[in-house]
Symmetry: C2
Subunit: 664 residues, 2 copies
């Protein structure tokens, strides 16, 4: 395996690493030629399971070329606990090394190399130890020795943990991509202000604790939703696209060194029910992060298989048996991973597999509402991502013709639950399934399309999803109070990353549409004092505040004459008219058939608007994630620990500590 | 005065109101034809001084035309305390009404009317009561009756207040325009992260309390720095450009109904020393908000006069005698308001006036350091805004040739203190001047050019200023500890508004500069995993972290090959190369001489970059403020009250309560 691969296999291994732009790395969390996973600065809950993987690299060409391309296969690895001696790792862990693995992979050093199709080839040697844990809090020094004197040292921290649980249940809300600027904008959209004083507030505004968390990846300062979900659920930073594993350099996306999630820990230690609710396809990164392990978030079919069977059923040679054991509640979209076909695991009928495992199945809101509370429940309500709040509530005709039936029969999924309906039913099921045992429950509920609509530059729909999330939080707190669980339940609300969105003024949509040149249209924008007050909470004659059909915490109108003028830090070529897209979610940029030049303005989008040339690579057709810290709001037992500024990984430790999952 | 004014006076009164874009209002906080100031929902500290002003409007033309353009001069106004009867206001306050004032003003109803030069004319009748206060906490209902049955009702709240002070001193830091996204970016610039775990943090990250405040104006959801300073210092929302007054419709910017600031309250009740420090011209809105009252923040000369003499000295007919009585420390730029000339008050020598009032004067850092601590001190270090941290520390040659000597002699101001030097010296002076009396002190220290450089789209310099602010906070806490005042001092850090800034990836500046087309240059941007790690904290070979010449909390380099790719929600036409401007602050857009088409790309700015067409009105040549809530960080006695989400006006009440300024 040490010989260079052929040109064909070069292309294959290339595709498994990201090579779409610059700052390319040989392997994310491994700047030197000797790689230790878990890497330096990793933190663990006492007793949390994890794998160790060691790699030694020998680049054949490029600026890092070393040792004639021959990796050291005789590397050693030892662990030092506190001030003890450094003990050979398999002895320290009382575990057995995997066989030595040798292979090669390629990467591009920079965009110049990519333009020139000039990859760097790296030969690698690797070994793993699997299913380990460290029970004793403290500091551990792990040392890899290779190439006759080189060392890579990783310091690991096993954190102190409280001996008792403060909370019985955890309800964890994630507003995907929800930046503070969006929460502020949603407040302006939906809450009345009189002379600068709000008469009502977002539910998030009223939570007991406010914090900020830093969202960056292990090897890049911008994250995606897979590795940020991993951080929130496991206390481990990892690489873009990775779910609950450290991305290694080997070709398969299923053998990377993994670690245990809070859902798996809850199942293993508390033996209580678990719920996952999302408005995305349920195999999407944020729900997938609870109960799956792969370097490649796009392995949707395997992810859905793993929910039910655990990773060890799929690839037993790489995995140890801890899993979610089939979450008690799975509600969302993504039916194409369930009905038999090209999207499902080996083409099998996963609905049938879930039913055989004891799940009741529901496919629409009517069935959801009448489902039994004491049974494991799979609710899949459409193919792909669920329809948006604005389309369900304001423009329901947009649901017609989507051919998104969860049965895969090409019909339309018209009887749709929203996030609130799914979340409240999930609480009832988890509550019913834990009532006798008193185990409590753990649930994650995700407003996924805040992010998806921000990517699409469809700010109206993104903020509609955010208001639905806030309404869901409000209703959930009330429901928990009603069933007597509010005082027992830690409720945490946060985001997994930002988008560089903000509102900077208002746009006179009437004036803008009436003008004929781009520069004249831009005169429709009012900034500072001329931004005026919210047109969204006003009656049609702008004279008074009224409550709209969707209730007191939603806008009265989505089509005011004076609309938000909002923008984002990064965007493809597109147009802006600042009027809501009434026919369905926006498609701002398109890549014309046959063109190799990438994305350009969608000629049928926002036709009354003016044109903005993009600042993203032409290969990006939508907005991208941003750097900013995101807000954390918490309520209930343990909420006070969520105050202040901390890393995304700390959210895991705070939740795990509130549940007493590190106690032993 | 009721007759229509001539065309000439129409233009004059027009200029006094804003009419640059849309959502134009007749008068900000007065949607009906009867105006009450303080308006509905106003809050007061017990005993805080304020004016009442009532206006009745009769639009002559436009959609609001009423009563043949004749305003009701017989309006009445009464105050109801709690459930008592509504008592005529002059009797209730034991005060005397001003004479009835009649005049007219004009405004444009929308951009169509402005394009057509078709203003709406409004006749007005008005009266005022001045120098009032409400001592008893509770709810007051103020009712204006006019036009034979119409009413405008304002509900006022006098807030409960603690009887004792928790804090002896308050040190209030304002990062002008400092959004959380900038704090996050500054952290990446200057603090080392190993595998996603920071090895050091911003000082702001480590404060005891974290909060968010909503920054909007009274009559628009986007604020400027004048009305946001007013909110932070007085607990009153007002209009863009207004300082510690409610903007009325009369022509003079000095007669508007005013209210007392925290600095004036501190002087009146505690009799302790006050400090104002800013890297802007010291007459700029954020320092001016401490000790001046005008509807028009651009009245720089009057503002500097008012610092020394109080508003009552300038226009005694409109004012009651409360003032800062000459702040003990005034450090900043803006020498053109001090040396005699067109920028100073009536052309007088304000340096001489300050000296005559007992101030020691310092003009550079050497003099600042050797100044006595027991004397009132005026330190003016340049004309206009002070040079930026990056120019002082990284590119000091940029200070040469600015002709910004504080003496107005056309020389260069080369011996410049930074924010840290000014703030530490200010602490020493305030401490020395209150040591015997034990009054404690109040100081505001502003990092003004975070905002100014964000406006300029010069993100590097903006973040340099932010890091200087953080370094100043760190040094101030250490200094307070050293002089034994840390435990007595409430330290609050916040911003007055946001900018829609965020980092969305990294840019390979070498690749970008080497390409010839805009679309090819955009391929230099790496997003998500390709954003990579911070180039700013790396050694030149990217292999290790080192400490740079400016210390451990600043970047090692400002010119990494892989630089931040950052953007903002709103911008004029400009170019981006993502490389720092080494010759001084950026000028991104220019309005060519003789052109009436507004701002276009500056042909000499970022010449290696690609072009972005703007989304602002062509009349705007720089970035603008944004909507997002901003962060609040607090330390010391009273800090815990700054947790959570609240309105900007609440910052005043929290600080005033910590100082016991409402006790009576």
């Amino acid at each position: 395996m040490r010989a260079l691969t052929s040109a064909v296999s070069l292309v294959v291994s290339l595709a498994s690493l990201r090579a779409s732009a610059l700052t390319f790395t040989r392997l994310g969390a491994c700047p030197s030629l000797g790689c230790v996973f878990p890497p330096d600065q990793a933190s663990f809950l006492p007793g949390q399971y994890f794998d160790v993987r060691l790699e030694v690299h020998a680049p054949v060409n490029g600026t890092e070329a070393f040792n004639g391309g021959i990796p050291d296969e005789k590397f050693t690895f030892c662990i030092q606990e506190g001030k003890g001696k450094c003990e050979e790792a398999s002895k320290f862990f009382k575990s057995t090394w995997s066989d030595l693995q040798t292979y090669n992979f390629t990467y591009y050093q920079d965009q110049f190399a990519l333009d020139a199709s000039s990859p760097t080839v790296v030969n690698a040697a690797a070994r793993s130890l699997r299913g380990l844990s460290l029970k004793k809090p403290g500091t551990y020094k792990a040392t890899l020795k290779y190439y006759n004197g080189q060392t890579t040292v990783a310091t690991w921290f096993v954190r102190e943990t409280p001996k008792t649980a403060a909370a019985k249940n955890v309800l964890f809300f994630i507003g995907d991509g929800m930046t503070q600027s969006m929460i502020t904008a949603a407040r302006v959209l939906a809450h009345k202000s009189v002379n600068g004083v709000y008469q009502s507030l977002m539910q998030m505004d009223q939570m007991e604790a406010l914090g900020h968390q830093m969202t960056h990846s292990i090897d890049s300062y911008i994250t995606d939703s897979a590795n940020s979900a991993t951080a929130l659920y496991t206390g481990k930073k990892t690489t873009v696209d990775a779910l609950n594993v450290y991305a290694d350099s080997s070709p398969t996306p299923f053998d990377d060194p993994k670690f245990e999630t809070i859902a798996e820990l809850f199942r293993r230690k508390r033996k209580g029910p678990i719920g996952m609710v999302s408005t995305a396809h349920i195999s999407d990164a944020t729900p997938a992060g609870l109960c799956s392990h792969t370097r490649s978030r796009g392995e949707y079919a395997s992810i859905v298989y793993e929910y039910l069977n655990g990773a060890q059923a799929r690839t037993p040679e790489f995995h140890w048996p801890t899993s979610c054991e089939g979450p008690d509640v799975i509600f969302g979209g993504g039916a194409e991973q369930f009905f038999p076909g090209s999207g499902s695991y080996n083409g099998t009928d996963m609905y049938k597999a879930y039913a055989a495992a004891g799940y009741q199945l529901v496919y629409n809101n009517t069935q959801l509402q009448s489902a039994k509370n004491n049974q494991k429940t799979l609710g899949i309500f459409s193919t792909s991502v669920l329809p948006k709040w604005i389309d369900r509530n304001i423009y329901p005709k947009n649901l017609v013709g989507l051919k998104n039936s969860p049965l895969g029969d090409g019909g339309d999924a018209l009887d749709q639950p929203g996030l609130k309906a799914m979340t409240l039913k999930a609480i009832d099921i988890l509550q019913a399934r834990s009532k006798k045992s008193g185990t409590g429950w753990f649930m994650m509920s995700e407003a996924a399309s805040i992010d998806k609509m921000m990517h699409a530059l469809d700010y109206d729909r993104a903020l509609g999803e955010l208001l639905e999330l806030d309404d869901t939080i409000r209703a959930s707190l009330a429901h928990l109070e009603k069933i007597g669980e509010l005082k027992n339940t830690l409720v945490v609300v946060t985001a997994d990353h930002g988008h560089g969105f903000d509102v900077f003024g208002s746009a006179d949509t009437k004036y803008l549409a009436s003008q004929t040149t781009d520069r004249q249209k831009r005169k429709a924008i009012g900034v500072y004092g001329d931004s005026g007050l919210s047109g969204y909470t006003m009656s049609p004659d702008n004279s008074s505040f009224i409550v709209g059909a969707q209730g007191p915490n939603f806008p009265v109108t989505w089509t005011p004459r004076y609309a938000f003028a909002a923008g984002t830090a990064a965007f493809p070529d597109h147009r802006e008219s600042y009027a809501i897209n009434q026919s369905g979610p926006r498609v701002a940029a398109v890549s014309p058939k046959g063109s190799t030049d990438g994305y350009v303005v969608n000629p049928v989008d926002q036709q009354a608007g003016f044109t903005l040339s993009g600042n993203l690579p032409p290969s990006e057709g939508s907005g991208v994630h941003s750097l900013t810290d995101v807000s954390v709001f918490a309520n209930g037992p343990g909420a006070e620990t969520f105050r202040g500024v901390y890393n995304s990984i700390d959210v895991f430790f705070k939740m795990a500590n509130a549940l007493g999952l590190g106690a032993h």
